[in-house]
Amino acid sequence: MTATTTRPTLLRRALALPQAKIGLALTTVVVAVALLGPWVGPWLTGHDTTGFAGKPFQSGGIAGTDGLGRDVLTRFLAGGLTLLIYAVLATALGLVLGAALGMVAGYSGGRLDSLIMRGSDVLLSFPQLVFALLAIAMIGPEGWLLVLVIGITHAPRVARVARQSTVAVKDADFIRAARMYALPRRRILLREVLPNITGPLMVELGLRLTYSIGYVASLSFLGLGIQPPTADWGLMINENRIALVVEPWGVLLPVLAIAVLTVGTNLITDSLASAAARSSDATTSHTAKEASA
């Protein structure tokens, strides 16, 4: 079975799937709104994000005004950027921390492994949101704290996956061979193990990004995340939910944006997972061949 073409990368195979295309389109739209909105908004509507437009419950811009009389469309356009930055930072923190811990735990085994995994168990005993609330109760709703606490609670979850994948490859003969060639542990982890666990880690990346968006938005919705007067989608829902019937756009626009964004990232994640599962199927077929040969 000599193939002549190079096997396409996981990302390329994932993006060829239909759900990935839909997901990518949805995500792109919302990310574009979030990134460009803060600049386009004031130019488009003539209001700044905190400025008033008309009296409370009076029609201001296209989407009306909120309870304080601020223009909903301007605030909506400005409200995604902070959320997105926090979510991306928290994801990056959780992924790097979790992957490093999980790989070290899985590769070393023994006491270091138990120590890291028992430590994770303690963190895993809190629902992520509850742990975040515990930290916020003590320190206050600071931006850096949101990033830190969501990142830290992602880490043990990522670590489990990274550890499991590392354990699966660590006894592969090519890793043993690397040990026979006196490759230092750090290089074995980075050069031999890491490239072989990128599949599950990319799935984690997508999953954790989806959750990060959800958590930052949820905390803001609870009034304990991004603080007023910053315009933020989660916070807008909190501020406007009483007027849901009268002025639905103040709630519906941000709810829609968050929904579309998380569904988009989740569709991409799912396509990554399917692509990764298919390539591990290919590996299994080799194993089957070994057994039958």
């Binding site: 759900q19 028992r118 168990d121 303690v122 005993s125 809190f126 629902p127 992520q128 949101l129 509850v130 742990f131 609330l133 515990l134 930290a135 916020i136 109760a137 003590m138 320190i139 206050g140 989806t210 968006i213 959800g214 958590y215 938005a217 949820s218 919705f221 609870l222 009034g223 304990l224 989660g234 829902i237 939910r241 849901l244 019937v245 639905p248 709630v251 519906l252 709810v255 968050i258 929904a259 998380t262 569904v263 990232t265 989740n266 569709l267 799912d270």
Partner: protein, 318 residues
């Protein structure tokens, strides 16, 4: 097997202890002086010193931890700074209210998820399967409050105003005296976790259905019903129990958001209030409680896993 279960039990106790340590250590992060935070900037040094003594804050850290832990173990969760009453009293009725939500959502989503997942796995690759997978993929992505707001918009305000969006229990009467107001909160929580259970059940069942012993059972000529019930389903119970446990723990987090959204008088609502008021004793009590529930649920799931695995079960005979 019993040794395995005992070992698992010991680990749970150890983790619970570490969790208590973590919850306590978090209070050390409080900026400045808790007594000043409670009494305000105008308080005289004498009053602050007096309150410190009253709260035991002048003792060394380890002693304060032991005092607090001793209190927790004997059912004394401290005094709420906001209400000035005992925390146990504050939480008493609310725990029941939250449990109603949790148990209601857990039962519906577990039953629904397992059924949908199995159904989907048995029709792999067909339209039903794709539909179930697609819907669960979309719903799984949505944060709790997005689902909640959507339900309120559809079922409470605009389209079909049938269910109340706000819980208004008359004081002194339990929330379940008006079951209609439980519908939306439970439905929200159910929608949050059902997709995960469905997907997991589908994946586990698919794996089992692809296994050699299922192929063999079919090649033995067994009727499909027997293949599924006797050969496939028992193998899915162990792994799925784990996922269900994780989802129930997720519910414990989700309940905070859902209670806040529906103004439901449970511990989640109390937690938000306590965080806003910097009511440390209440925050500690609730986080510890939720972590405890999570640890116990996971323990049960692991024991189910051990009991359904004949390899582990057999160790009793060795």
């Amino acid at each position: 097997m019993f040794r395995l279960i005992l070992r698992r039990l010991a680990i749970s106790v150890a983790v619970l202890w570490l969790v208590s340590l973590l919850v306590f250590v978090a209070t050390l992060l409080l900026p400045g002086d808790p007594a000043r935070a409670i009494l305000g900037q105008q308080a005289t040094p004498e009053r602050i010193a007096a309150l410190n003594e009253q709260l035991g804050l002048d003792a060394p850290v380890w002693q304060r931890y032991l005092d607090w832990l001793g209190g927790v173990l004997t059912g004394d969760l401290g005094t709420s700074a906001a209400s000035q009453g005992p925390v146990t009293e504050l939480l008493g009725g609310r725990i029941g209210a939250s449990l109603v939500l949790l148990v209601g959502a857990a039962v519906i989503s577990t039953a629904g998820g397992l059924a949908l997942g199995t159904w989907s796995a048995l029709r792999r690759g067909r339209a039903v399967d794709h539909t179930v997978s697609g819907i669960s993929l979309v719903v799984a992505a949505l944060p709790e409050f997005v689902i909640g707001v959507a339900l309120i918009v559809v079922l409470s305000t605009t389209v079909l105003p049938v269910f109340p969006s706000v819980t208004l229990a008359p004081p002194g009467e339990p929330v379940w005296s008006q079951p209609i107001q439980l519908v939306l909160p439970i439905l929200t929580l159910t929608l949050v976790v059902t997709p995960y259970i469905t997907r997991m059940m589908r994946a586990t069942m698919s794996e089992v259905l692809d296994s050699g012993y299922i192929e063999m059972a079919r090649l033995k000529g067994l009727p499909e019903r027997v293949v599924i019930t006797r050969h496939a389903v028992p193998h899915a119970i162990g792994p799925v129990a784990q996922v269900v446990a994780i989802q129930l723990a997720w519910l414990a987090g989700g309940v905070v958001v859902v209670e806040f959204l529906f103004r439901y008088p449970g511990i989640g609502q109390a937690l938000i209030d306590a965080v806003n008021n910097r009511d440390v004793a209440v925050v500690q009590a609730i986080t510890l409680l939720i972590a405890g529930v999570y640890i116990v649920v996971n323990l049960i799931a692991d024991i189910v896993g051990i009991m359904t695995n004949p390899k582990l079960r057999a160790e009793v005979s060795r």
